[in-house]
C-alpha cells in the first residue's frame, strides 16, 4: 500500500514516514501544500495523511482541490487544533477521518487500514480468498489454517491483489503500491514477489494475464 504523508514539521514527518514503513506501507512524504497537490495529481495513493497547517497551500485547500478532481482517496487529517469547529471544517472539506496531535503511531496505522478497507468496499476485517486469509492489522497470512511467513513486500503484493480481487493489476500499479517515490525499484521485483507468493501459498492462486498484469479471480473468493 502506498500512502502520501503531508507534514511540514521535519521531525514529525520523518517519524510518520518511518512508522508507516514499519506498518508495511510505502510512504511518500511532502513538506508543503503545493508539492502535495502535485503528487496527488500524478500518483496513485491508497490513502493520504494530511497536516492542516502547511506552508504555501493549506491542508484544507489541498483537500478541496483533491475532491474537486473527483478523487475518492481516503484522507486522514492531522490537526493540532482541537476545537469542534476545526474538525467540522476538515470533515466538511472532504476528510474521512482526523487525528489530534500528538497521536499514537499504532492508532494512525489502524485508522489508515480502516480507511483503506472501507474505500475498497470490504467490511470484513480479514481478507479471504480460496482458503488464504490475510489480516492487514496483524500482518498475518494463513493458508488452509497454516501460518505463512511472508516478507513485507510479498505481503503488500498479496494485500493489493486480494483487495482488488477480480480485477487485474498491472505490474506498474503493483510497483506503485510497493515503492515510495525515489525508492529504487528492483527490476523484475514484482515477478519475483509473485513467484515467491505462488511457492509459499499455492500456484493457482495468482493468475498471470500476459502483457496486462496479475489477478486473483473473484470466483475464488470464499
Amino acid at each position: 500500500m502506498r500512502v502520501l504523508v503531508v507534514e511540514d514539521d521535519a521531525l514529525l514527518g520523518d517519524a510518520i514516514q518511518a512508522g508507516l514503513k514499519q506498518a508495511g506501507y510505502a510512504v511518500d512524504w511532502m513538506k508543503d501544500g503545493v508539492a502535495a497537490d502535485h503528487a496527488l495529481g500524478t500518483e496513485a495513493y491508497a490513502a493520504v495523511v494530511l497536516d492542516l497547517g502547511l506552508p504555501r497551500l493549506s491542508g484544507l485547500e489541498v483537500l478541496q482541490r483533491l475532491r474537486s478532481r473527483n478523487s475518492s482517496i481516503p484522507v486522514l487529517i492531522l490537526t493540532a487544533r482541537d476545537t469542534v469547529n476545526d474538525r467540522i471544517k476538515g470533515l466538511d472539506a472532504g476528510a474521512d477521518d482526523y487525528l489530534l496531535k500528538p497521536f499514537d503511531m499504532g492508532e494512525l496505522a489502524a485508522r489508515l487500514r480502516a480507511l483503506i478497507r472501507r474505500a475498497s468496499g470490504k467490511v470484513d476485517l480479514l481478507l479471504q480468498v480460496a482458503g488464504v486469509k490475510l489480516d492487514p492489522a496483524a500482518h498475518r497470512v494463513t493458508c488452509r489454517e497454516q501460518p505463512v511467513d511472508l516478507s513485507p513486500k510479498e505481503f503488500a503484493v498479496l494485500h493489493a491483489l486480494m483487495l482488488s480481487a477480480g480485477k487485474v493489476l498491472s505490474r506498474a500499479q503493483l510497483e506503485e503500491q510497493l515503492y515510495a517515490w525515489g525508492e529504487e525499484v528492483e527490476s523484475n521485483a514484482v515477478e519475483v514477489h509473485i513467484h515467491h507468493l505462488r511457492r509459499k501459498l499455492f500456484p493457482e492462486l495468482i493468475e498471470t494475464i500476459r502483457g496486462v498484469g496479475y489477478l486473483i479471480a473473484a470466483g475464488k473468493v470464499d
Partner: protein, 442 residues
C-alpha cells in the same frame, strides 16, 4: 455606604446656602429696619415736642406741676418734661424723672436714666419760655426691629425640615443617572467588556464613561491577546510533542540498530526544539508583561558583542561566521535585559537561516539622531509579501528548514515596540539573504 455620600453632601450644601442667605437677608432687614425706625420715630419725637410746645403755650398756665396720665401700653416707654425757663419742672409724664431727660437743650440726644437708654428730643417753645424734652426708650426700637427680623426667621425654622425633605428627593432624582450607571456596572459579570452606552448619559458623567470604556477596551484586547496566545501556544506545542512521541514509537518498533538510533536521535532533537519553543514562549510572555520602567543607558555595541560571543560556538559548528565591524559605541535608553533578548533573537535567527560557509553581519551605527542595530544573513531571504508577515506570532516562511519557533521576530518586534523603536526588513546588500534593522530614536 463607604466614603462620603454625594447626596448628603449636596443636601448639606444646599441647606447651608439657604440658611446663610436667609439669615443674611434677615440681618440686613434688621439693620435696615432699625435705621428706618430711627428716622420715623425721631420724626415722631420732634412732632410730639412741637405739639407739646404748642399746647404748653396755651394751657400750661392753668396747670400745676403734674403728671400726665398713661394712655397706651407703649406710653410707659414714652416720657416728656416741660421745664419753665429751663429751671422749673412744670409738667412731666408719670414715668419721667425729676431731673432733665437730656443735657442739651436743642435737638436729639441719647441718655441713660436709671439704667435705661432713652432717645430724647429737646427744644424750646416758640416763646422761649418752656424747655421741652420728649423721650422714648431706645429698646422699643430694637424690639420692633427684632420682631420684624424674627418674623422673617421663624418660617425658616419651620420650613427647614420640609425643605430638607424636598431637597433630598430632588437630589436623589437628579443623581438617578449615576445610580443607573452604578446599577449597570453592578449587573455586569467580569467577563463583559462591551462599552457602556454614552448616549443616554448626562454630560457630567461622560468623561467617567469614556474613561471606563477605554479601560474596558484595553482589558478586552489584553484578554483576547492572552487567549489567542494560549491557544496558539498549545497548538504550537502539539506538533513537536507529536513528533517526539512518533519518533519514540518508531524507535520501539525498529528492527535494526541504525533505524532505532536514528529515531532516538530525532526524538532527542525534538525535545531540544520543544524546549526552545517553550523558552521562546516564556520570553514572549515575559516581554508582554514588561515595559521600559527603570530605563537606563544601554550600549548597543557592548550588548551585540556579548550576544555574539554566546552564539559564536554554535555558529562555528554550523560553519557560520559572525562579523561585527569596528565602530563607535552607541548608547540608547532602554531595558538592558530586553535589548539583550532582542539582539540574541536577531542573531540566532540569522544564524539559523544562513547556509554553512557564509557569514552573518551585525552592525551598530548612529546617524541623524537615530541609532540602529542591524543583522544581515546570506540565507535564502524572504519575499516582499512575507516581510510583512514574518513578525507575526508562529509565522514560519515556506521552505524553511531551520526549525525555529516562529516566535523570534515576534519577540524582536514586541521589544522594539516597548522601546519605541522601528523594525525594518530588507534584502541584504548582496541581494541575497535578509537584513533586519531595529532603529531607535533618542
Amino acid at each position: 455606604m463607604q466614603g462620603h455620600s454625594l447626596k448628603r453632601r449636596l443636601l448639606v450644601l444646599a441647606l447651608s446656602t439657604v440658611v446663610v442667605v436667609w439669615v443674611g437677608a434677615s440681618t440686613f432687614i434688621y439693620f435696615d429696619a432699625r435705621e428706618e425706625f430711627d428716622e420715623v420715630l425721631d420724626a415722631h419725637l420732634a412732632q410730639d415736642a412741637a405739639l407739646l410746645s404748642a399746647q404748653a403755650a396755651h394751657e400750661l398756665d392753668e396747670l400745676e406741676t403734674d403728671h400726665a396720665p398713661l394712655l397706651h401700653k407703649y406710653a410707659r416707654r414714652v416720657a416728656f418734661q416741660i421745664w419753665e425757663g429751663g429751671k422749673t419742672l412744670r409738667m412731666h409724664s408719670a414715668n419721667a424723672t425729676q431731673r432733665h431727660l437730656a443735657d442739651i437743650e436743642d435737638g436729639f440726644s441719647d441718655s441713660v436714666i436709671d439704667g435705661q437708654r432713652w432717645r430724647v428730643f429737646s427744644a424750646w417753645d416758640e416763646t422761649g419760655q418752656f424747655l421741652i424734652h420728649v423721650a422714648e426708650r431706645a429698646d422699643v426700637r430694637e424690639e420692633l426691629a427684632r420682631d420684624i427680623a424674627g418674623n422673617l426667621l421663624e418660617p425658616l425654622l419651620f420650613s427647614l425640615p420640609l425643605l430638607a425633605l424636598l431637597l433630598w428627593v430632588a437630589v436623589a432624582r437628579g443623581l438617578r443617572p449615576l445610580d443607573k450607571l452604578a446599577a449597570e456596572l453592578e449587573r455586569r459579570d467580569p467577563e463583559t467588556l462591551t462599552p457602556l452606552d454614552a448616549d443616554a448619559a448626562p454630560r457630567e458623567v461622560l468623561p467617567l464613561i469614556e474613561r471606563l470604556n477605554r479601560l474596558f477596551a484595553r482589558i478586552d484586547s489584553t484578554f483576547q491577546r492572552e487567549r489567542r496566545f494560549t491557544a496558539d501556544a498549545a497548538h504550537e506545542l502539539r506538533t513537536p510533542v507529536a513528533g517526539i512521541k512518533a519518533q519514540a514509537q518508531v524507535a520501539r518498533g525498529a528492527t535494526g540498530t541504525a533505524e532505532r538510533n536514528h529515531a532516538l536521535d530525532n526524538a532527542i532533537l525534538g525535545c531540544d526544539r520543544a524546549a526552545h519553543l517553550i523558552e521562546q514562549l516564556l520570553t514572549l510572555a515575559r516581554v508582554d508583561a514588561l515595559d521600559v520602567a527603570g530605563a537606563q543607558s544601554c550600549r548597543l555595541r557592548d550588548i551585540a558583542a556579548g550576544e555574539i560571543a554566546m552564539i559564536a560556538p554554535v555558529a562555528l559548528d554550523k560553519g557560520v561566521h559572525i562579523e561585527l565591524p569596528e565602530g563607535e559605541e552607541v548608547a540608547v535608553r532602554g531595558n538592558p535585559e530586553l535589548l539583550r533578548i532582542l539582539t540574541r533573537n536577531l542573531i540566532d535567527n540569522a544564524v539559523r537561516h544562513t547556509p554553512s560557509g557564509t557569514s552573518v553581519r551585525v552592525a551598530v551605527v548612529q546617524q541623524e539622531g537615530l541609532a540602529s542595530l542591524s543583522v544581515c544573513d546570506d540565507g535564502a531571504g524572504i519575499s516582499e509579501q512575507e516581510m510583512s508577515r514574518v513578525s507575526e506570532r508562529f509565522y514560519r516562511p515556506a521552505d524553511t528548514q531551520a526549525g525555529g519557533s516562529g516566535l523570534g521576530l515576534s519577540i524582536v518586534r514586541r521589544i522594539a515596540e516597548v522601546h519605541g523603536a522601528a523594525v525594518h526588513f530588507s534584502r541584504a546588500d548582496n541581494a541575497r539573504g535578509l537584513c533586519v534593522a531595529v532603529t531607535f530614536r533618542f
